[in-house]
Symmetry: C2
Subunit: 408 residues, 2 copies
Amino acid sequence: MNSVIERLRRTTDTVVGADDLRERLASGRQLRIKYGVDCTAPDLHLGHAVNLWMMRQLQDLGHRVVFLLGDLTTRVGDPTGRSETRPVLTPEQIEANAASFLEQVSLVLRTDPEVFEVRRNSEWYDAMSIAELLGLFAQVTQAQLMSRDMFRERVAAGREIAVHELVYPVLQAYDSFAMRSDLTIVGSDQLFNEQLGRVFQQRLGAPPQVVLTTTITPGIDGRAKQSKSLNNYIGLTDSPRDKFGKLMSIPDELVGPYAHVYTELPLADVAALSAATSGADGGGKGGGRAARDAKLRLAAAVVTRYHGAGVAKAELDNFRHTFTDHGEPADIPHIAYAADRATILDLLQAARPTESKSSLRRLLRQGAVTLNGQRLTDPTTPVSLTTPLTLKSGPRTWHRITSVRSSG
Amino acid sequence: MNSVIERLRRTTDTVVGADDLRERLASGRQLRIKYGVDCTAPDLHLGHAVNLWMMRQLQDLGHRVVFLLGDLTTRVGDPTGRSETRPVLTPEQIEANAASFLEQVSLVLRTDPEVFEVRRNSEWYDAMSIAELLGLFAQVTQAQLMSRDMFRERVAAGREIAVHELVYPVLQAYDSFAMRSDLTIVGSDQLFNEQLGRVFQQRLGAPPQVVLTTTITPGIDGRAKQSKSLNNYIGLTDSPRDKFGKLMSIPDELVGPYAHVYTELPLADVAALSAATSGADGGGKGGGRAARDAKLRLAAAVVTRYHGAGVAKAELDNFRHTFTDHGEPADIPHIAYAADRATILDLLQAARPTESKSSLRRLLRQGAVTLNGQRLTDPTTPVSLTTPLTLKSGPRTWHRITSVRSSG
């Protein structure tokens, strides 16, 4: 039992109800683990998977994950179009999203019925009267709900909170009672709602769920947390090659934290990887050989976890074959350019002919473009093509450019 | 039509939707007038009746009062016992209160089915799903609800607002849509909720109700508004004698305002009554003959309104017979006191033997006790009974006290 707690602790930030957790794991009973999701289109990434792997550890001990679709709230219309948090979905969209969710979740969780169960919160809310719902509301104060970080931030920013959004935490909390949750593993942004779940369970005479929140690491840009809109995440459905390549592109200082939460490498090995990547430059451009090897080890460990050791070995070999020790690919496509003078924007257009000028300018602005290793951000920068040039645009796209005029 | 508006205006404080009111009265259609009440035990007083008489005027023109029992919210349990506003009632209590309400209301309103209809808001809320309710919540922001005076005052006083209380205005507002309200006449404390009703009706594609709020006058103590707990009100079910007596006891400065809102005396007469009671002393003790006649006129007009001219005439005669021109009753009970020295508290105990010392001390503190016309407030004040004394305790209780020892 202590070894389970020890394993969970590796990626745990906060525990609410540590005594309850110990007691319940010792009880020998199959625990019900609440995994609540809304029904918007999912795109699970390594950050989400931290929680899933913890659930998987518990499944391997015989406990049951209850995958709870919050379909009720997804059906709530917002005629004003003011809701910021959740779009209104048709029943078909909800089902399609739920299917996609399950498919992605099954990359980590076991989905056999002994240890996995799918529920929808409409099951209990469709049967609940409005008087009963108001009775739940009576147990919470306005001030408690408004104390939630997300709401306070919105008020501070002068943005509105619709009343249905305000009361969602009450519904999410009651879910824990209705589905008899013993334990839930969530991001820290859900801590408030799930703690409220404990309160409801206790008031309604049920044992309160344990709440674990997980460690959050930044996305592959080293700054913001992983999100689809920032395109700085590693998706569970990314190909092994993409996972490998994205991990090779992270800033050095992320190697240790990533190895800690995204792999099961022994902690001593994690410490060694951290040491190898905490070198002098620290600027994220990836310096020495040791740092590169550390990233390779990380990338292989992550790919092993999702795709097995065989696939990881193949990707490791591919990467070593494709890129030189200096990090350039061994085989770079060649462009023959029809002039011997150009701007950097001209060259980008030649290299990425299907993309718009504005998206190329954005690439430049983001610092994603280098020419012979030098970062260029101004699209009008003049370039002389008297010698062959190496253009890198984005983390993994390389071109060798020579002028046809100068060479021919 | 303009004459209706003119008559309503006499007791109207605020009109929301004045154009709608004019248009709808001109339409010739039977209007639906929302009269929403909660289901707590009612004790209607002259203040409530101001609104009822306005509805009655509209009934006399053929419009329909819809008496709406807010039974849904009354059934909401509050397991924490924290709710300040509404106790939880059993269905039997709700029905008993509703019956009592109807009985009192019928003292003013017509209750024949052409112009009167009873509805319960559980009719629509029992049929509404929780998803639909959340859809209503989506149309209102937390900030809008919290802008309500009552909530702001509670926050300022450091008191909590339970979430069910917070959302009640949404339900009350939706009621207006569900029952197709054209018009509602409420106290100013309900203005926010009923304006929200307009918003809902418009959003849901219905014509918005007109909202009239009524003038509020203080209770018979001239200070706080009429309330059961302060016992400063004139109840609709009070006997004609009690109504008459209570009105004779009001401070002079209330005679004009009362005549304005509680009677249909011509406004010129109201002005004359105001003039007669705005004399020099103004202290509320009721001075001259003119002021007394003005009060008699007011009392007779109010009793006429509720009980008819015959009863009013009888009460007027009774009062004139019972009380001298100086305001003392013609026939005062006599007490023979067994000592010639006492405190004022001793005398009060002799006069009101069934009351506790603490309630007698309270009477003194409130300034409700005079001895030979002089107000006494300290219970230990020594009194000499060498001559007969006139003790007045409370607005209409008189005793003549003589010492048996001194006289015998």
